[in-house]
Assembly symmetry: C2
Homo-oligomer: 161 residues x 2
């Protein structure tokens, strides 16, 4: 990981090595992990990644307004809107108007949606467990904390431009 940052060379030949560049490595890792997991929700159950995230969010939370699904699942409001529209067509979720706020719609899984969720979850958890078996418990803890800190730093970089 370009971790040592030994800038032996000056601007004319900076110490840059793509395969060790952290942003590259995390992109490749995430892409491969996503492929491995999407074999479950996409290939076997024909859900897009956004649709799977919405199902997962509702599986964890029972009832949510669309505006809360976005922040919970790292999707923007259009991705949520489109995913929710398709999931409703497929009979996997239902929407009812919120009495408290006429603009909002409360979204929840139908029984079919919950059954789907319950089928997918064990398969994805098994794959996650297989991935994490590569690590010792203390390594997992360090990884988890590292990811939280890196995410916070990435977000502060994005903010400042």
């Amino acid at each position: 990981m370009g971790l040592t940052m030994t800038r032996a060379a000056a601007a004319s030949a900076p110490d840059f090595d793509l395969p060790r560049f952290f942003p590259y490595r995390v992109a490749v890792l995430a892409e491969r992990v996503s492929q491995a997991i999407s074999q479950v929700y996409l290939d076997r159950f024909d859900l897009s990644r956004a649709e799977w995230r919405v199902v997962a969010a509702l599986g964890c939370n029972e009832k949510m307004a669309a505006k809360d699904i976005g922040p919970y699942s790292a999707l923007d409001k259009m991705q949520v809107s489109r995913a929710v529209a398709r999931l409703e067509q497929e009979g996997l979720i239902r929407r009812v108007g919120d009495k408290a706020d006429g603009r909002a719609k409360i979204i929840s899984l139908t029984p079919a949606g919950r059954t789907l969720y319950q089928r997918i979850v064990p398969l994805t958890l098994a794959r996650e467990a297989y991935l994490l078996e590569a690590l010792e418990p203390n390594e997992r803890e360090i990884l988890s904390r590292a990811m939280d800190r890196l995410l916070a730093r990435a977000e502060s970089l994005i903010e400042r431009g």
Copy 2:
């Protein structure tokens, strides 16, 4: 991180929590890191991610055949082909036929391409360094090894389907 894997509940309510699900977390992290880095190569220098990777590969390697750029930069041959075509139009790379293999074309940066590379690299390294400042040296080492192992496991999951 769904790391503890305490499956207290049975299939009817598996211990699934999207925000702690490792594949979700690594996807979100990679996306945010990519946004933070693409502010450099995309917003300031108008390169797509694939184009930046090709420039970076050639910055690290001087001369490469297209077939070697793909594996080096985690791009498929079409992504390489398109990126290379645009970079050539922009005068950032050049292609010459390989005398040893009439099918292959040897690709290298032009002086303009190398100048661009040398401008981008310090900026991306600075952002990488900022991200990694969040971690102690030993944490970086553990993270680096963890990423290698997780990648290998993800690839073996993909292979077996």
